[in-house]
Amino acid sequence: MTGVLPVTLEESRKIVQALLYSGKEYVCVMKLHGNATENRVNEVLEEFEDTIYQRPPLRASVKRQLRTRKIYYIDFLEMDGRNVLFKVGCEGGTYIRKLCYDIGEVLGCGAHMQELRRTRAGPLVENGDIVTLHDVAYWFTEWQQQKNDAILRKFIQPMERALALVSKIYIRDSAVDAICHGANLTAPGILSLETGINSGSMVAILSLKGEAVALAKAVASTEEILNMEHGVVAKTERVLMPRGTYPKCWKSGGT
């Protein structure tokens, strides 16, 4: 088992972009090609706790140009002979196989990635509600027979769970349907918002019931938005809620 893989079902595919931005955590076994002391390994791992440069590997599915990736942390866990166990928190799109190779180069003895398990993809963690393929097949059959929706909640999470790390803006019922039709979010529709929003940040627009309405790009900061009385606050990028879920409370331009 290689750990957390977020699987999006039909409508929830639209939130994948939010997951891709929210970082990953892995536990990795790295095999050294020569001897190194635990102290030295620790030292070198710490050096990689930074913004690093990586060129995607030959068999990668993206353009092979040098790019930067942030390593939030590398925690040394244990070492047994030439096997080094560590935990790494990094930006999405970091190649851990490359990271191991580079760590080996700095150590001087060389190294390769032996085993990898993803322990987190954004807000989804392995010691939360992770399920196996077998669980999925089993619980789904149970649900089909018993028709009890509590069974679905044992193995499926609402897509809003996957948006937990995106800054949120809660809006009025009366503002929902316009957003569902692709309108940008304007200041009067806002009820509350989270700290940390900047112009350009991805935000999740939610109803007061906590339903995801859309993903959008903020055009102002939290502080600015709090003081705005009118004007566009966020540009709608991906509508998540179907039109007509909430009543239409806006006037059409007339035809």
Binding site: M1, T2, V4, L5, P6, V7, T8, L9, E10, S12, R13, V16, L19, Y21, S22, E25, E49, D50, Y72, Y73, G89, Y95, R118, A121, L124, V125, E126, D129, I130, V131, T132, L133, V136, F140, D149, L152, R153, I156, Q157, P158, M159, E160, L165, S167, K168, D173, V176, I190, L191, S192, L193, E194, G196, L208, K209, G210, E211, L226, T245, Y246
Partner: protein
């Protein structure tokens, strides 16, 4: 080049506070709380936190889930590095 500075903050380590700008109520006649969506709708707006088996690709695993749940389209959030 060695930097012993404090580690940078991972997205899951950021603490956010909710600030209120205006007060209003929501009408219970429209929409549902996410966890109260019904049956098929709950599935279609859902995400599975799957412990991926080693061997098959993420794409293959997504295709299996599509077949098990009898859905039109199933995707995955990024591949585990090959």
């Amino acid at each position: 080049m060695h930097s012993a500075m404090s580690r940078s903050v991972a997205p899951w380590e950021i603490e956010r506070k909710l600030l209120v700008k205006a007060e209003d109520k929501t009408d219970t006649r429209y929409g549902h709380k996410p966890e109260e969506r019904l049956g098929k709708e709950y599935i279609r707006y859902g995400v599975i936190n799957l412990d991926k088996p080693a061997g098959p690709t993420s794409h293959e695993v997504a295709a299996w889930i599509k077949r098990i749940l009898n859905l039109q389209c199933v995707g995955h959030g990024g591949t585990l590095e090959a």
